[in-house]
């Protein structure tokens, strides 16, 4: 299944993410997939929030 799905993916990034999700499913089932996506999204969002805070501080806070 892993390789069959890969065939339909567009680039290496997508293939790597799929492989990560598939392995997570094999190891931890549904929770595995959920936690991989959640961790990735939360990590990006946290970095986004950090930069947003820095921008706000540059403008004296309160923006």
């Amino acid at each position: 299944m892993k390789d069959r799905v890969k065939k339909f993916l567009n680039n290496e990034e997508e293939k790597m993410l799929w492989e990560e999700l598939f392995n997570a499913f094999q190891e931890r089932g549904k929770d595995g997939i959920m936690s991989v996506i959640k961790e990735k999204a939360e990590s990006i969002k946290k970095e986004f929030d950090d930069y947003k805070k820095k921008v706000s501080e540059k403008l004296g806070g309160g923006v």
Binding site: M1, E13, G29, I37, A41, F48, K52, L59
Partner: protein
């Protein structure tokens, strides 16, 4: 490799150990809930362990599947012996651990094929047929997916789909945050511009709007304030002493403000002024207190005079009491005499009553008197009783008068005592005034006059001081006004800087990185969308290949089982479901028309069996297991299905479970050697009750 024997213990419906011998055809027959499916599940679990348990199988019924039989403390264990002598064995140790041992050949197969492959090509589950029979296209599509071993595709795609909703929300939230952030910055720029304009108007006297000008103001105020302090002969505070012009403006302003506040209260003139205010207030209080006590004394004196005028002096009242005492004593004496005489007559009356009435000589007047007793009674009443009553009245009157006079004496004493006390108080007040003025106040002097003179002097001093203080306070106020200018200039410059920064913010690294993160989040979402789409495409591709490879067989078996008069050839096709993007299965005739509307439940059941039987032929396992295959088959379809099975038994060992007695009878006609297990009643202590044929 076919199954020879099976031993099951403590697994699901099995409590005590049961052993089965398998023939080329093994039929498990009996009513629902007697352990037939548990027997097939035992084979499945022995080979695959926990891979066939739980939600990750993609089979709804397996989510809460319990391996362990609740009626025995023994661990579940299953042993299979194959016809080549190999043995497969599995024991359940805990929720997370099994002990298992597999023979070499079966190990090779289990490594090469997945549980899904087994599920599709070896073990036909009754749930799959139930799903195919449903009227709901969504559920039927799911049933076909399961039949074709695509549950894992569907399962993973559904799980990812669940998370994508949250991810989309997060993307939208981030997008909104950026948009709100931009609006907020724009709003702030507008507010700062308005504030800068207003501050500019307030600072019209300021020459230049820059840091140098701010510095100049700071230097000026620092020097002026130092000079002012020296002029007052005061010491500057420690903080002020250390203050430099290059100090941060906020702190600079804070220290200066605090120094001005200190000076306002600690200037010598202000201190003197405060002392005089305090003395003025104290003398005024003493004056008021003196006036109050003096007034009270006057009032008390007046009342005493009025009292004496109305009731007489103390001597006069006392004389009156003496006279009343004399009167009372006189009347009491007379009353005593009269009482004595009266008692003699009373005794005489008693005597006469006792001795008889013939002694008519009056013991009072000595005359002979007729009806002496009656006469005596009248005389006694006339001379003594009435007189005594009169005397008592007089006595009561005089006593009352004496009591009133005594009260007046007491009242007079109280009033005199009060006056004395007020007088003492007045003397105390005069003494206090003397102490405060540091001089003795003689009896002929009026404290009011003395105090007023002193108060007048204080007032003059205060008026003089007030002008000086006002002048210095004005100077301090002018310092404060300069502070306001410095503060506004600071605010002006700060807002200018902030506005410039806000205008340039989109050029900063932080801003660019923030947008990059937003794009990264969107990219993650898009990647996940691509993955879902790829899973669906792959699933479709697999479905197409499997159907294509087994197309002829499916058609052949379907025709044999149903012998449908309207369908000469049947074609199963898979397409992309336009709504879900998943697999949509269409069943068509040779002209490409959908036949679902004319298919009975039995036909659908037959189609599911045809797909299973067609797919099982390519699997390298030498046995197949069918669980309740005839759910909706008609009598003819059952008979035809058994005919098809006759072909299958040429290549595969068949293990079939059924509760259908009609099918059971047909199955007896299978050509190959058969073993029949009749499942009787199931009970918790023993598990399935079997009868072997």
């Amino acid at each position: 490799m076919k199954i020879k024997t099976l031993k099951v213990k403590g697994f699901r419906g099995f409590t005590k150990e049961k052993e089965f011998d398998f023939a080329p055809v093994t039929i498990l027959f009996g009513p629902n809930g007697t352990g037939k499916s548990s027997t097939l599940n035992a084979i499945e679990w022995c080979l695959w362990g926990r891979k066939c348990v739980g939600k990750d199988t993609g089979i709804r019924e397996r989510i809460d599947w319990e391996i362990k039989n609740r009626n025995t403390s023994e661990n579940p264990s299953v042993e299979i012996v194959f016809d080549n002598g190999e043995k497969s064995w599995r024991e359940y140790i805990s929720e997370r651990k099994d002990d298992a041992q597999m023979g070499e050949t079966i190990s090779g197969l289990l490594n090469k094929y997945s549980f899904n492959d087994f599920f599709v090509g070896v073990y036909q589950h009754q749930e799959v047929i139930r799903a195919i029979l449903t009227q709901e296209p969504k559920d039927r599509n799911e049933g076909f997916d399961r039949l074709l071993g695509l549950s894992e595709y569907r399962n993973i795609s559904n799980i990812i789909n669940e998370t994508i909703k949250k991810l989309e929300e997060l993307c939208k939230k981030t997008e909104t945050e950026i948009s709100e952030f931009k609006n907020n910055i724009k709003g702030k720029i507008d507010v700062w511009t308005a504030e800068i304009e207003k501050l500019g108007q307030d600072l019209k006297d300021v020459k230049d709007f820059n840091k140098e000008e701010e510095e100049k103001y700071k230097k000026e105020i620092l020097a002026d304030l130092k000079e002012f302090i020296e002029k007052l002969s005061l010491q500057p505070s420690d903080e002020f002493k250390k203050l430099q012009c290059d100090e941060k403006t906020e702190r600079f302003l804070k220290v200066i403000k605090s120094e001005i506040t200190r000076l306002r209260s600690e200037m010598p003139d202000v201190k003197k002024q405060n002392e005089l205010f305090q003395r003025q207030s104290k003398l005024n209080r003493l004056l008021q207190e003196y006036k109050v006590v003096k007034g009270a004394l006057k009032d008390k004196d007046e009342r005493l005079k009025q009292f004496i005028k109305g009731n007489g002096s103390r001597n006069e009242i006392e004389n009156r009491i003496n006279k009343l005492n004399e009167e009372i004593s006189k009347i009491e004496k007379e009353k005593e005499q009269k009482s004595l005489q009266g008692s003699i007559i009373e005794k005489a009356i008693e005597y006469l009553k006792k001795e008889g009435i013939d002694k008519n000589i009056c013991p009072v007047c000595g005359k002979e008197t007729k009806d002496l007793l009656e006469h005596l009674k009248k005389e006694w009443e006339k001379k003594y009783k009435l007189q005594l009553e009169e005397l008592n009245k007089q006595l009561e009157y005089f006593k009352n008068e004496r009591k009133n006079a005594e009260k007046l004496i007491k009242k007079l004493e109280e009033m005199e005592e009060d006056k004395k006390r007020i007088n003492e108080n007045l003397k105390e007040k005069i003494k206090s005034i003397g102490v405060e003025l540091k001089r003795e106040i003689k009896e002929d002097e009026d404290p009011v006059v003395i105090l007023n003179r002193e108060l007048e002097a204080i007032k003059e001093n205060l008026e003089k001081l007030s002008k000086d203080v006002e002048q210095k306070q004005k100077e301090l106020t002018s310092f404060e006004e300069k502070l306001v200018i410095i503060d506004k200039l600071r605010e002006y410059l700060e807002k200018i800087e902030l506005r410039e920064r806000a205008r340039e913010i989109e050029k900063t690294d932080e801003w660019k990185k923030m947008l990059e993160k937003e794009r990264e989040l969107t990219k993650l979402r898009d990647k996940i969308f691509s993955i879902i789409s790829a899973i669906k495409k792959a699933s479709q591709e697999v479905a197409k290949t499997k159907i294509e490879n087994a197309r002829e067989r499916i058609n052949e078996y379907f025709k044999k089982i149903t012998n449908h008069p309207q369908i000469k050839n049947l074609k199963l096709e898979v397409e992309k479901d336009s709504r879900t993007g998943g697999n949509n299965y269409e069943i068509k005739d040779e002209d490409g028309n959908s036949v679902i509307p004319i298919l009975s439940q039995g036909n659908l059941n037959a189609l599911a069996l045809s797909i299973f039987l067609a797919l099982c032929e390519n699997m390298p396992f030498d046995f197949i297991m069918l669980d309740d295959p005839s759910q909706s088959l008609s009598s003819n379809e059952k008979k035809n299905f058994v005919e098809v099975l006759n072909n299958i038994t040429e290549k595969k060992q068949v293990i079939i479970s059924t509760m259908d007695s009609e099918l059971f009878e047909y199955l007896k006609n299978l050509y190959k050697q058969k073993k029949i297990y009749k499942f009787k009643e199931w009970n918790p202590q023993d598990g399935p009750n079997l009868e072997e044929e």
